[in-house]
Symmetry: C2
Subunit: 345 residues, 2 copies
DNA sequence: GTGAAAGCGCTAACAA
DNA sequence: TTGTTAGCGCTTTCAC
């Protein structure tokens, strides 16, 4: 077992001081060409690599970002995680993952654990933490950015889609498609994403002279969504919506299955279905779901941007509340208006 | 910005030595009831929490596990990641994620980076690393376990499904179902999972007096699988397979879509389709895919078990090669034999 | 440009 | 049981 090689050993072999070795491996440091060469050679021969943890201790920068994430069964998150992790890696950071569940209210405990690792920043994906805790992070000088969850807490940044406007657009689309009895299956009602999507949808509906024809709670859960679909559609034909907005794709797939296979309804002939997220299966032919695209790449970009800004300029950086616009992806699960997009003027 | 609270400050406030504080926060240490109380109180008041990194430096144990993972678009991995992360958390470890791509052969570089974090162990999910690198890890005293990828390298553990036996079972199922022209769409041919599934499938076919009727390469990629399906099925009817085993579910969905919507074939009437993994969408009614279940929970259990064994008993632990059996999940995408499971005797 | 020296916050002997 | 002491491997003044 070839034991750990330290900078001191490299120094001895290169015939320089230990601090010289440190400088060679420190990006912004100065060393003569000769020294650099000697050191690199010795390091190479010994298989030396700097100990990130030791560096973190003295510099106070761990280059670790803590990520709190709740549920990976919504396929938006694996996608986002992949992009986020890659983006951070490119900046020389790495992601320490902390799983938690939305319901098991131990999120605060998880965040404490994260802080113990002296992370340089925290990203929470779709989980809410107490504003108490947010304060603790701020006080500890650890910037927090909420991904896909708007948080009004002062001082923390959040990056989401423009869920409100996305909801509005969906309503316009459905109404333009001639639908008169429009239903909505909600996400988890504690989530800002859910609230914003619903508010935008209903406001827009109102603008167009309609109101929600039916509403059921889905909690962002496939099983509950299925039940919601049943409650909403397993009724006399005249009480059946002719279109339904399901608060995210994950639920929408379950709803479509229930509609087609459970209730023998045709999509979009009997009922139009639209979702939100545009996760990969939305594009699968069996679903072909019309949905609002959450642009994970842009969201991540903004997240990383905000995070690094706070890390690098602790005093001057100002919290951001970013809302990314969501293009409507028109596919086959909902009747398409004759005129779409709407004519100008 | 309430600056970092150190154990020294707690010590002063509690009127004890700094090491007393350390002991109170070290699981297996001894301290009198009185001391414990004083220290806990002081720590509480100051909001003290031990610095994991400092602890790691001196103890040599970081309680960080490095996870190298390639592609999260196969939904088996998010699932596995979630279970793994939770299992490790329960043992007081955390997961540092490193993304890489199968193709971009920089896996070795990634592993070097991992080592820099002084991780206590490494899990690679479905990626191969050079045996050179495996050696480096062993030499550094960092145990490696390969998840879902068999590696013959001496000294490293691997946990997979019993892919060979799974392949065999699928062949038995298809043949018992009366299929005579059986095709196979491969995964990435460099993967042990792919090789084992195919070997088992073909060996079993041979035992039953058949051979592969058609074979196309799918590379575990949805697009390539679609193309493969087209190449295999867009032919004169008599040259068309009556069943196809697709090397994983992720590809199977694309194949089913292509068969139904591209070629207007009925599943399972015109062609039976079976997959491997049993990811959540396999159970969605629109696919209802008959497939071999990879039991992620058991696989993770074995992975964690092996890893901790190596970490805790560096000298005595012996590398393990675990293969978890895979139950066949019979759904509607393939014709079901009249007699199934086969009668004994 | 370079080396000496002082720690970062903690654990682990060692004495007491 | 407790306090004292010596580092873990590194970055960073500070003289030279």
């Amino acid at each position: 077992m070839a034991e750990k090689v330290t900078s001191l050993q490299v120094a001895e072999r290169a015939g320089v001081s230990q601090s010289a070795v440190s400088r060679v491996f420190t990006p912004g440091a100065s060393a003569s060409k000769a020294t650099v060469e000697k050191v690199r050679k010795a390091a190479e021969e010994l298989g030396y690599r700097p100990n990130v943890l030791a560096r973190a201790m003295v510099s106070g920068k761990s280059r670790i970002i803590g990520l709190v994430v709740a549920y990976l069964d919504n396929y938006f998150y694996p996608e986002a995680l992949e992009i986020l992790s890659n983006a951070l890696q490119e900046q020389g950071y790495h992601v320490l993952v902390f799983m938690t569940s939305q319901t098991s209210g131990n999120i605060d405990g998880v965040v404490e654990e994260i802080l113990d690792y002296q992370v340089d920043g925290i990203v929470t994906a779709s989980v809410a933490m107490s504003s108490d805790l947010s304060q603790r992070c701020l006080q500890a000088g650890v910037p927090v950015v909420h991904f896909n969850r708007f948080e009004s807490t002062k001082g923390v940044s959040s990056v989401t889609s423009d869920n409100y406007e996305g909801g509005r657009e969906l309503a316009r689309f459905l109404v333009a498609g001639g639908h008169k009895k429009i239903g909505y299956i909600t996400g988890w009602e504690g989530a800002s994403t859910q609230r914003d999507r619903e508010a935008g949808f209903c406001d827009s509906l109102a603008d167009l002279g309609q109101t929600l024809f039916a509403r059921e709670v889905g909690d962002f859960d496939a099983d509950r969504a299925r039940a919601a679909a049943n409650a909403m559609f397993n009724v006399a034909p005249e009480n059946r919506p002719d279109a339904v907005f399901v608060a995210n794709d994950h639920m929408a797939f379950a709803v479509m299955d229930e509609l087609r296979f459970g209730l023998d309804l045709k999509i979009p002939e009997d009922v139009s279905v639209v979702g939100f997220d545009d996760v990969p299966p939305a594009a699968w032919r069996a679903y072909d779901l019309t949905t609002m695209r959450q642009r994970a790449n842009l969201m991540v970009e903004e997240t990383v941007d905000a995070l690094l800004d706070h890390i690098k300029n602790p005093s001057t950086a100002t919290p951001r509340k970013v809302a990314i616009s969501t293009p409507l992806i028109v596919r086959g699960s909902a009747r398409v208006p004759d005129i779409w997009p709407p004519q100008e003027g």
